[in-house]
Every structure is written in structure tokens, then in C-alpha cells.
């Protein structure tokens, strides 16, 4: 671009009014004569004016930008940020989070800044970014429990909303799912189908959501006459699902119903069962969790417990927006209900 970008001053001169008046028109403030408004509008078009955001942010103290942080809990740079990012997006879950956040932000002409925080340095980077005023607040999705980032954010009084209740407790708003109820839904379905040998592939037990899903599942199974349910712990990945199911099958070759704590692992469970000659759902019923794209692309399509991730992410953005605008000062929480989606595997 050879010539300088036009400024308010240029538009004002072109329209024959003062800077302040142009500013009012641009910001849609009332008390402007319609004729002048029109005149200014045309001057803006003629000059091709676009307000300089840095100048505006400098005085309003608002970046009109939020950070979307995917946070691990690494103590050091064990893994490159690139590898972390790749791993994160391997799960369709994050794509859904992005979609939900964008769904809320878009109508407001806002766009998220994507950040990955895996090492202490990364976390410092996030803090600095916000303290510099480059973003007005953060949406944090932690991949691990005991993520130190929320605590840091809270201590710095930076507007933040989390996905999932933080452990340990931190006075920040969050959005969550009733995971326990999700586990119950899965158990009930299996019981209704007449399963007599249920088992479950749990998520990492260090993750509260995994524990809750497991607790809900066990709970309902116990009431249904199955006080003991074999459990194999997985890591929310396809490979870990296969491995967990392998162990389960070795000790309990007669299982006829499996609840996997996410769809990725459920897919692994199905794959292994088929390899071992078990038919799904005829020999073994399988229920996943999340209702991600995988559930549909699986063969056969997965019966699963739906987690409305997009809605939850949009709600996070809404809460953060309120915090930023000062419309909400106290931390709050919004808990969504899971829903059983019946397809073919159970």
C-alpha cells in the first residue's frame, strides 16, 4: 500500500465536519443530524476509511478480541507446541469447541486468537498476552486435571471462563456437563437391552469427568443388579481404547455390553471386537460418549451419549463476554444435560 490509510481526520475534512462527528457516525452514537450522517457516510465510502483499531483500543482499553486457549498441564517442554496442537486436533472435540465459540463470536465481528499452553513458558505467554491487553479475556479448555493455568488467570484477575469444573477449585466461571448422568444413561440403555455382562472402558481416572461418567455408570448398574462391573482405564485415544478392550476381553471373554467414555475409544472397542469375531451389537453392545463426528462415521454408527459441545462452547463465550463488559462479576457455572443418541451399536 503506497499511500497512507485514511484517518478520521481525512474523512472529517472530506465531509466538512469535525473528527468528533465522524467518530459519532462511525460508532452509531445518536444526536447526529441525518443529513450530516449521510454526508459523513459518503465521505467514508469515498475515502475507503477503516478505523484504526490500535488507536481505538488505546482509549477504550478494549481489544475486542478473546483468546481461546487449549491448555495442557505440562511441567516443562516435554512436547513441542506443534505436536501438542496436532494431538489436540486429532480429537474432533476441539473442532466442535472452535465451532461453538465462533458461532457466538461471529455475529459480534469478533474472532478468537488460538493459543496452546503446554509448558510453563506457554502459560506465561498467555498471561502476558492478556496483560498487554491484546485480548480482553480467555476461554480455557484444559486437557488435563490440575492445570495450573486457571489459577494463574484467576490470581491476575483476568476475565476467564473454563470448560469443565476446575480442580482444585478456582473462583472462575465454567461450563460443564452432568457427566454422572451421562454414565447413568449409558447404563440404563445397556440394562434395557438385557445386557448381563456389562463392562466399561473408562477415561483417565485422574480426570474428574472420567470419574463421574464411571460413577454414574456403576451407580445405575448396581441398582440394576450388577454390583461389580469390570473397568479398564483408557486415555481417550483410539489406541488406548483398543488396548483397554483387549485387557477386558482377556479377563472377561463373555462381556455383552461395553460403555466407552468417549467415541474415539468406542471406535477402538468396536474395531477390536470385530477382529476378535464378536458382532456389534448382536454379540456385544457398545455405547460411546460425546456424539462426535466419529460416532456417525463408525461402522456401524455408534450409539452414544451426546455432549452438546458447540452449545457449551457458545455459552462459555457468552459468559466471558458478560464478564468482560462487567455485566457479571461473580463466577458462575452452567451445567448441561447429556442425551442418549441411539444408533446401531446398542
Amino acid at each position: 500500500m503506497s499511500r497512507q490509510a485514511p484517518t478520521l481526520e481525512d474523512v472529517a475534512r472530506e465531509a466538512g465536519v469535525s473528527r468528533a462527528t465522524v467518530s459519532r457516525v462511525v460508532n452509531g452514537v445518536r444526536n447526529v443530524d441525518p443529513a450530516i450522517q449521510e454526508q459523513v457516510q459518503r465521505a467514508i465510502e469515498r475515502t475507503g476509511y477503516a478505523p484504526n483499531r490500535a488507536a481505538r483500543s488505546l482509549v477504550t482499553r478494549r481489544a475486542e478480541t478473546i483468546a481461546l486457549v487449549v491448555s495442557g498441564a505440562g511441567g516443562g517442554p516435554e512436547e513441542s507446541q506443534e505436536a501438542f496442537a496436532a494431538r489436540v486436533f486429532a480429537d474432533p472435540f476441539f473442532g466442535r469447541v472452535v465451532a461453538g465459540v465462533v458461532g457466538f463470536l461471529r455475529p459480534r465481528s469478533m474472532h478468537p486468537v488460538l493459543m496452546f499452553a503446554e509448558s510453563p513458558d506457554d502459560r506465561h505467554e498467555v498471561l502476558t498476552y492478556l496483560r498487554q491487553g491484546r485480548a480482553d479475556g480467555a476461554l480455557v479448555v484444559s486437557t488435563h486435571p490440575d492445570d495450573p493455568l486457571p489459577t494463574l488467570l484467576a490470581a491476575a484477575h483476568l476475565p476467564t471462563v473454563l470448560f469443565a469444573r476446575p480442580t482444585p477449585a478456582v473462583p472462575l466461571s465454567y461450563v460443564d456437563l452432568d457427566h454422572r448422568d451421562g454414565g447413568r444413561l449409558a447404563a440404563r440403555r445397556l440394562l434395557e437391552r438385557g445386557c448381563r455382562r456389562p463392562a466399561t472402558v473408562a477415561g483417565p481416572l485422574a480426570v474428574p469427568a472420567s470419574q463421574e461418567r464411571l460413577a454414574g455408570f456403576r451407580d445405575t448398574m448396581a441398582r440394576g443388579g450388577h454390583p461389580y462391573v469390570p473397568v479398564a482405564e483408557g486415555g481417550f485415544t483410539l489406541a488406548s481404547g483398543i488396548a483397554a478392550m483387549t485387557r477386558l476381553l482377556a479377563e472377561h471373554p463373555d462381556v455383552d455390553g461395553v460403555f466407552a467414555a468417549n467415541d474415539l475409544m468406542a471406535q477402538g472397542v468396536c474395531q477390536l471386537l470385530r477382529e476378535r469375531g464378536r458382532r456389534v451389537p448382536d454379540d456385544v453392545a457398545v455405547i460411546g460418549f460425546d456424539d462426535s463426528g466419529i460416532a456417525l462415521s463408525c461402522r456401524p454408527p455408534l450409539t452414544t451419549v451426546r455432549q452438546p459441545v458447540e452449545q457449551m462452547a457458545a455459552e462459555m463465550a457468552r459468559l466471558l463476554d458478560q464478564h468482560i463488559r462487567g455485566e457479571r462479576t461473580e463466577a458462575t457455572s452452567v451445567v448441561f444435560d447429556p442425551e442418549l443418541v441411539i444408533r446401531e451399536t446398542a
Copy 2:
């Protein structure tokens, strides 16, 4: 945050020097006495100073931010941005792009702003965003040919780097893969395995990359004694891969080797073949394209043509950086070579 954030002025007062000196220290400019430097450094720590980016951007005319735009080619708001975002991330491809970009940006303390441009309004939004100086340039990944965004960006002289050569031609830098050569690699492998009835599931033929992959494949097949190769067009999705293979099988039940234009479709091909009682690779060899996470999680693991997406994305970021800093003024292109990754399906 009750009290105002400390400014340069505060730090200067605390350290007993002028604003200019603090600025020099913060920006690592030479000509500062080490003793004073130390003194300022301590004052910064004591006050907890973080430079205000808006103020800095206002004078440097740099946002130190780049936009990562995923662009469709929609003529209207046929699809919500949320749905578009979700669809985009269903393909692991974009996760890899993000990973590559972040890999380059991170060491520079930069973070991408994620934007989706599917409707004309969205495109206008992208233009405005850049013209307002909120980002210094754009990295554009188009999901469709004839995307109007590159043309708009070029006309506005906004620093831009594209993923894949634009059609029609636009004077912008881009990064691409030698797709034709990728098709050749797949054909050669199939020939070497002794395939006698090859077929291919192509990508959308409106996409140049699909055409190139197909052309390369046909080319080598023709030289290998197969002047005619059955083609079924797919849409780069799992479902379309299944559908395409279904058609192929109906007309050519004796195929013994299939090249699918991406891994997602190759996965569909494998699924369908298995359902129809064909063993992979014993009865039919299958080769995918991309080497995305799917290739590994597929059962059996997919032999595929690797596209170094992360490296390509990092290169895009590097080129954009050069354009922004004015170190490169002419549009350029960097073409990467594909590589055959042999696993179990061929």
C-alpha cells in the same frame, strides 16, 4: 483489576530514568548502560509492567498478529459459519495446518487469529479486519476452487500467502504440493504390487489438486500398461468415499487396487471392501493420500502418499512474515514433494 496497569511512565519513575530509556530496555535496543539496564529491569519486575500493545501498535503500525483464514467459496450464507467450522475441522487436515502455523509463530510470541470466510459478508469481514490493522497479513486455506477471497486480498494489497496455487491466477505467494507426482507414486506402488485391475476414487474434479493427483495416477498407469483406469469422483469425505467405491465395485467387481485421493475416502473404501467380503490388501490393495492421523488409526493402517502439511503451513507463515517485514516483495511459490508411506493396505 482495581488499580490501573503500570505504564512506561511508572516504570521510569520507579527506576529514576526517562520513558525513552525504559523503552530502550524493553525493546532490547543497544546503547544502554548495563547498570541502568539492570536497574530498569528490576523496576519492571517490581511494578509488574507489561507494555500496552495498542499503544505500541499505534506507532509501529504493526499488530504482530496474523490471521489464519479458512475460506470457502459460498455466494451467500447457505451454511452457518458454525456448521462450516465444524465441517472444516472434521478433516484432520486443518488441525495439521494449525499445528504447522503455530510451530512457526510460537517462537516469535505470535498467535493466529482464526477466521472462517464462507459468505460474502465473511470475506468483507476479513478484509476489514486486516485494513483496520488488527492483523498484519493473512494465511488463507481455501476449501474450494475459485475462491474470491485471494483476489480481494491481492486487490487491497494486503500481505497474503495461500495454501495451494490459486485459480484463477492471482499474484500472491503460495505453498503447494506436487500432486501429480503424488498420483504417480501411488500408481507405481500399485503396479509394483502386481495389480492388474486398478481403479481410483478421485477428489472433486473441480479442485485442481484432485485433477493433478488423478492425472499423475493415470499417467503412470498408462505407462504401466493400463491405458484405461476406472474413476469414481468423491467429495473428500468418508461417506463420499464409500459411495464412490460402491459404484466402482458395481461396474468393476474385479478391481484389485484402489487409489483414493485422500485418507478419509480411503478409509471409506476399506470399510466398504470389508463389508463386501474383500480382504485388504490381499484381495484389494488400497492407497490413500495425505498421511493424516486417520491413516494410522485405520484398520489395517493405510499405505498413503504423505503430504507434509505441517511443514507446508510453517512455510506459509515464514513467507507471510517476510512479506510483512518487507523482506520479500514479489509473490513466490514453494512446492513440496510428496512421499509414499508404506503400511499395510498396499
